[in-house]
Symmetry: C2
Amino acid sequence: MRVLGIDPGLTRCGMGVVEGSVGRPLRLVDVNVLRTSSDLPVPQRLVTIEKGVDAWLDEHRPDAVAVERVFARSDVSTVMGTAQASGIAMVCAARRGLPVALHTPSEVKAAVSGNGRATKAQVGTMVTRILRLDAMPKPADAADALALAITHIWRGGAQARIDAAVAGARQTQATRRRYA
Amino acid sequence: MRVLGIDPGLTRCGMGVVEGSVGRPLRLVDVNVLRTSSDLPVPQRLVTIEKGVDAWLDEHRPDAVAVERVFARSDVSTVMGTAQASGIAMVCAARRGLPVALHTPSEVKAAVSGNGRATKAQVGTMVTRILRLDAMPKPADAADALALAITHIWRGGAQARIDAAVAGARQTQATRRRYA
């Protein structure tokens, strides 16, 4: 299974591709941080992010995309841009029919380090160990994107399958209601 | 000048097209509300919004797009979806090279009613009068989208031109610095 993890952001958007399966060593395929200048208008910055994500989907052909879930209570100065960037990332994946999963920062921290309140440095250290890298991926957005991809593989894509089943069941119910 | 106003939202996304110029009667071209079911996963809902906005850009060929500016302090339960939908709307316009302007709710209220704290009903009434409609556009998201388009025309697209000039000047400065 090949997963693209995306740590969304307007100024820095981390993207990391990891390959592997539960119980086997994972492999780093590629990692990058998309940057857009705060001097540019937001619509242009979002288009740059869209192009960057699309280019990676073309190049790396992941089986699934894992995006960090953004909360309204996050840092107010950046949360709108982060939410918009996450929306773009989700659309890029979903319009290709790729499964998209959202993982919270504490789910990711817990998955890679066993501690839902781990520091950025701990997450970076664990990502470096898990992927057997020579150095810690930098900046933190790169390590976070890889941690998201690792989390998704280790959770076995189970959540995405549960969500799909629930959505399917709901749709069946709705169809039944319509034709009842 | 033909403007597409977008009142972004995941559950209801208002879209209104208005044609005209400052000092002349304005004309309603079309108005609609895109709806997506909260039973569906967010990525699918965003793809539906993207398709709807793209279809309208194809059909109505506006000269500019005006999107409501979303604030982090808005209603916490819906603000993430609203921000994501606004990001999609901006990208749809910007990747076609269309100018995108953001107007705050109070700018829109002040433009159409003279009062930055006008109620939804007042905005609806004024939109109905300004466009000489037989009935108030419903739901409120439809009226709000039209109010955004009206605001944009009445501001003469001035803000977009100022933003473009500022971005241009900054870019020139950056180029100068690079080659200095």
